[in-house]
Amino acid sequence: MFNIENLTVRINDKYLIKGMTFTVPKGQITAIIGESGSGKSTTISALLGILPAQATLEGTIFFNGRDLIDLSRDERLALRKKHFFTIFQDATNSFSPTLKMKQQLYSLTALRLGHKNEAFLAKIKVILKDLNLSEDVLESYPFELSGGMLQRCMLACALYNEPDVLMADEPTSALDMLHQQEFIKRLKKLHTQLGTTVLLITHDLGVAASIADFILVMKNGEIVERGQVAEIFEQPKHLYTKRLVANHF
C-alpha cells in the first residue's frame, strides 16, 4: 500500500525523521512502536500530508504507485477524503464541543462520500448498534459522552468510510484498561471484516503484540528494528528494543 523511501522531515535544522525506509503491506496491520518523541506521530502526519507549513519533507512516499511528496494542498485533501481515515489519541477533544454528534459524524463520513442525510442515518445507526452505542449518541453533544464512547464513535466513522488505510495514533492511551481491550477487539474485528490496511502507532507493546502483523521500532526519528511480531518479542536484536521488551514484561 505504502512504499516509503528515505523519508526525512525537518524544521529548519531540527530533524524529526531521519531517512526512514519502510513499507505498509496491503491488508495487514503494521504497528510503529517507540517512546514519545521518537517521531511516530510525525510519520503519520507526513503520510497524511498535514505537516505544519514550516516543516521540510524529503524522500518519497509511494501510495499505490503514486508519489505523494509534491502533491498540492487540494490533491492531498482529496486523497485523505478518498483513501484514509485516522483515529487520534484524545477522543474527548476530537469533536467540536458545540455541535451534536449527528452533524459531526456526518461531516466525518457522509460528507466525504457524498451520501445523503437519510442514507447516512440509516447506515450509521446500524454501525452504532454494532458498536454497542445507543442511537441517543446522535442527539448528544461530545461533553455528554465518555472518552470510551467517543473513541467508539471515531471507530464508527472508520467502519462507515471503509478507508483503504486506517491510521490510528495512540488510539488507546487515553482509555482505561477495560476500554483499551474492547477497542483493540473491535479494531481487530474491523480489520477482519473489511480487510483494511491498518497503520497503528503506539507506545504500548502489549497493544502492538496483541494485534499487529508487522512491527517497526522507532527511536530518534529512525527505524532501529523491524520484523514479525514473534521475532521482535522473542528475539529482539537492537539494544533499544531489548530494553523496551524487558520493561514491558
Partner: protein, 322 residues
C-alpha cells in the same frame, strides 16, 4: 437546569439594581442641604413650613437611613423619582424623553460594531500571519489609545468645520421638519466615533479567539480526516463566537460610559448628556434617576446576552459545567 440558571441571573441582576439604587440614594443623602429640598429641588422654596414638615414626616427624615432608603425605594418602584431641581418637571418624564435617544445611539453602535468586528475578526483570524491579521492587530491597539472625544473633535474639525458635510452638534435641524433622514444625518458623526473607538478591540478579541480555536485538537482531527475547509470554518466560528459574545456582554457598561462623552460632545440629548448636565448644575434628583435608569438598561442588556449565550452554548443548555 435552564430555569435554575436564569434564576441565578435574575437574582444577580436584582443585586446589581439594589447596589445601583443604594448608590443613587447615597448621593442624595450625601448631597449638601436638606434632603427634602434636594428631592423637590427649586420647588422647595415655594413650600410652606407646614408642608416642609409634612414632607419630612412623609420621608421619615427622623427615622434611620435604611428606613429612608426603603421609603425612597418604594416610591422609586412606583415610578416616582422626584422632581428636577432645575426644570421642576418630574424626573420620570425627563428620563422618558432621554432614554430612547440614548438607546438609538447605543443600539445602533452595538449593531454596527458587532457586524463589522465579526467580519474583520473572522477575516483576520482565519488567515493567521496575513496582512489583514497584522493590520488589524495594529489598528486595534491604535484605536484603543484614541480618546473617543478627541476623535470626535477631529471629526468636527474636518467634516463639519472644514468640509461642512455634517452638523457639528444636535439631533435635528432647528429650522427643519425633523424626521428620520434628518436624524440619521445628525447621528453619522457621533455614531462613527463610537464605532471606531470600539470596533478594533472587539475584532481583535474575535481574531484571537478564532486563532486559538484554529489550533484546537478537533480542528486538526477534522482536517486530517478530509473534512472540507468550509465545514471546519463553520465549526471554528461556532466555538469562537461564544467567548466573543460573552466579551460583548462584559463590555456593554463601557458602551454607556462611552456614550456619555460622545453625547455631550455632539449635543446628543440622551441620558449621558443629561447625566453630565445634572452633575454640573447639581440637580440631584435627575442625577439619581439617570444613574438608576442606566443601571436598569445595562442589567436588561446583560440578561439578553445571557439568553443568547444559552442558545449558543449547549453546555449551558444541557447542564454540563455552568
Amino acid at each position: 437546569m435552564i430555569a435554575k440558571w436564569i434564576g441565578k441571573r435574575v437574582i444577580m441582576g436584582t443585586i446589581v439594581l439594589i447596589i445601583v439604587s443604594f448608590l443613587s440614594f447615597f448621593i442624595m443623602h450625601a448631597a449638601p442641604g436638606n434632603p427634602a429640598a434636594a428631592y423637590y429641588g427649586g420647588n422647595a422654596q415655594t413650600l410652606s413650613t407646614a408642608e416642609k414638615e409634612r414632607i419630612e414626616k412623609a420621608f421619615g427624615l427622623d427615622e434611620p437611613v435604611l428606613y429612608q432608603y426603603g421609603t425612597w425605594l418604594r416610591e422609586a418602584l412606583q415610578g416616582n423619582l422626584g422632581y428636577s431641581a432645575k426644570e421642576g418637571r418630574p424626573v420620570a418624564a425627563i428620563l422618558q424623553e432621554r432614554l430612547p435617544t440614548t438607546l438609538q445611539l447605543v443600539v445602533l453602535t452595538l449593531l454596527i460594531v458587532a457586524i463589522a468586528s465579526t467580519w474583520l475578526g473572522l477575516l483576520a483570524g482565519m488567515k493567521e500571519g496575513s496582512i489583514v491579521d497584522r493590520v488589524l492587530s495594529m489598528f486595534s491597539i491604535a484605536s484603543s489609545a484614541i480618546p473617543p472625544f478627541w476623535l470626535g473633535i477631529l471629526f468636527i474639525m474636518v467634516f463639519s468645520v472644514q468640509l461642512g458635510w455634517f452638523p457639528t452638534s444636535g439631533m435635528n435641524d432647528v429650522r427643519g421638519e425633523g424626521g428620520l433622514v434628518d436624524r440619521l444625518y445628525h447621528i453619522v458623526l457621533p455614531l462613527t466615533v463610537l464605532v471606531i473607538s470600539h470596533v478594533g478591540i472587539f475584532a481583535r478579541f474575535l481574531q484571537d479567539s478564532v486563532k486559538a480555536e484554529n489550533r484546537s485538537y478537533y480542528v486538526q482531527v477534522a482536517f486530517a480526516n478530509g473534512v472540507p475547509e468550509r465545514e471546519i470554518r463553520t465549526m471554528v466560528f461556532r466555538n469562537a463566537v461564544i467567548p466573543y459574545i460573552n466579551y460583548i456582554g462584559m463590555t456593554i457598561p463601557s458602551f454607556f460610559g462611552g456614550s456619555i462623552v460622545v453625547e455631550t460632545l455632539f449635543g446628543w440629548s440622551g441620558l449621558g448628556q443629561l447625566l453630565v448636565k445634572s452633575v454640573m448644575v447639581k440637580d440631584f434628583p435627575v442625577l439619581m434617576g439617570a444613574i438608576l435608569i442606566i443601571g436598569v438598561v445595562v442589567v436588561i442588556c446583560l440578561f439578553m446576552i445571557d439568553v443568547l449565550m444559552i442558545c449558543l452554548n449547549p453546555r449551558l443548555r444541557r447542564g454540563g459545567i455552568v
